[in-house]
Symmetry: C2
Subunit: 336 residues, 2 copies
């Protein structure tokens, strides 16, 4: 395995030190237990957003800590859930008196540990709500999941709920919005190459020279099938067809289209997929009102792409457009 | 070769169509001849910034078109210089009457074609200045270059000159600033894997399982040597030592530290390198006042990292911090 690391066991700790050094104005990294928080947290009277999960999906989640998105993120080791004490400490550190929203991707370890943390928070009289993300249409019941896996919708929920919290919405309202976004989002991805966990040293699976994993999970868990590599337009249609059918998305729907690189995918390829996806969405009668193209939720060095489609509600547009300043997603109040 | 493409000959054209669809508010893509321009260009009275080069380095340059950076970018085919007619048409389209600054990386084809375009612009009575970027300390006279290659400093010049132009500086001043930034910047990179040009279908070179190319060029051209893979801290020191010695950077200097992923490098690894680089810089007595960490100038799917160090001048800090809204670099006026 080739990677720019020192000791495999220190990958996450050293990367977090690097993040703290790279973004001194935006975030602080705590080490005992480990979490990242907004440098200006807690924000009095604002609902605090806390997410987390295994590392290896950067910039998710730590790259979304900052004004307009997360108040804290709890990174586990690579592809390993964070522990309840991390989540508890993060939530206590950023709680501004208006309660804490936990945003949890549907993987068994994450669900269990966030649930334990929520019970500890309740015992500490900190009001807590949880949004469980399960937007992946590829498979039901997977290697690490009962039900559907949580993937790209997580980024959209963190942005939209982050803006709603910033706008002063109550914990109940922010949680409701998060659940509504999750319910209106569907995703699916495919891998051209496996990823290699530097703490394991081996590729997560093997693929033939002209083979792809269709419906891939973000830890390299199996998808729906192994299929031959095909043209980008064909593969994009194969991803979008089950996404469109699942919600289902209907002609006339207004959508946000998110094309996500899985880590090693050149931007040239993401734009080719985005082009194909817009055509298919428009043939389906959808109006694309917002979009996101880039590598925002990755699987280390995996080459591949995932597509998320979100049926937008009118009041989410303002939340999407609202200012945000995090390492990975940043824009000002208006185009300057 | 595995890539998300349709036909190799259409990679750039289709990716540009995708970009136009992804950023309708920020930019327009012209096809005959091919260039990207700010959607609100020309800006009356503002110096216009035009850059370009071979495709395959995304987000450079098209991803830096927008307010606060480039007015136009001219993409060639993959790893192929844009033609003079592209550059001429782009400059004419975005010239707002205050002249045009051409930002050119030092590769023979780029230099020649931008020079021809500058002559055509002079004949059309459009005042033009050129900033030639040649910050790579790895080698002198390379596969496509006489003198030093232009690499990471390009991103910094486009940001700093973009802000200076936005602030109303004259063409002579913006060009002077660009040359000063180039003169104060030094870079070097290394590759863990080759890249594969989808229009060629073959890896650009071969590397052993535990071998890296030290001093790599952004088209896969040879660097200084093939060396065994080592720890991230060791490799970071090997990159920084010649960078520090070259300018030379001196104890007490204030610097911008830019750690650039070459395309397929996980963010976890970039943060580990950033951590190492800050330590070495500080041991050298440098004060890091600004930083940039991410994949901003890439070589398709190459795994590896490049480091750029810029000795900052006081008046560049405000230009660096100034608002920017482009696909790849974006922030508002103040942390929100």
């Amino acid at each position: 395995m080739k990677a720019l690391v020192n000791a495999p066991e220190n990958v996450v700790a050293e990367a977090l030190e690097g993040m703290a050094l790279a973004y001194p104005e935006l975030l602080h990294v705590e080490t005992e237990p480990r979490f990242l928080r907004r440098s200006d947290a807690p924000r009095r009277g604002k609902v605090a957003l806390v997410s987390g999960g295994g590392s290896g999906h950067e910039p998710l989640h730590g790259g979304f800590v900052g004004s307009g998105m997360l108040d804290a993120a709890c990174p586990g080791e690579v592809f390993t859930s964070p522990t309840p004490d991390q989540i508890l400490a993060a939530a206590q550190a950023v709680n501004g008196g208006a309660g804490v929203l936990l945003i949890v991707k549907n993987y068994t370890g994450d669900v269990l540990n966030f649930q334990l943390a929520a019970e500890l928070l309740a015992a500490a009289d900190i009001p807590t709500e949880t949004v469980l993300v399960d937007d992946d249409v590829a498979v039901t019941d997977s290697l690490y999941t009962a039900g559907r896996r949580g993937v790209g919708a997580t980024v959209l929920i963190e942005k939209i709920c982050g803006a709603a919290a910033e706008a002063g919405k109550s914990l109940a309202d922010v949680a409701r919005i998060g659940r509504e976004v999750n319910a209106a989002a569907r995703s699916m991805g495919l891998a051209l190459t496996p990823c290699t966990n530097p703490q394991a040293g081996q590729p997560s699976f093997q693929l033939g020279e002209q083979e792809i994993e269709f419906g891939i999970g973000i830890h390299g868990e199996p998808g729906r099938s192994r299929i031959p590599l095909a043209k980008a337009d064909t593969l994009t249609e194969m991803l979008l067809t089950p996404i469109l059918a699942d919600l289902p998305f209907r002609s006339g729907d207004t959508v946000l289209l998110f094309v996500d690189g899985l880590g090693a995918t050149p931007l040239l390829e993401l734009y080719i997929v985005y082009r194909a996806a817009t055509r298919i969405a428009e043939q389906h009668g959808l109006r694309i009102s917002r979009r996101l193209v880039g590598s925002y939720m990755t699987s280390l060095d995996m080459a591949g792409v995932a597509i998320t489609l979100l049926r937008m509600q009118e009041d989410w547009l303002g939340y999407w457009d609202a200012p945000v300043r995090t390492p990975a997603l940043s824009w000002g109040a208006t185009p300057c």
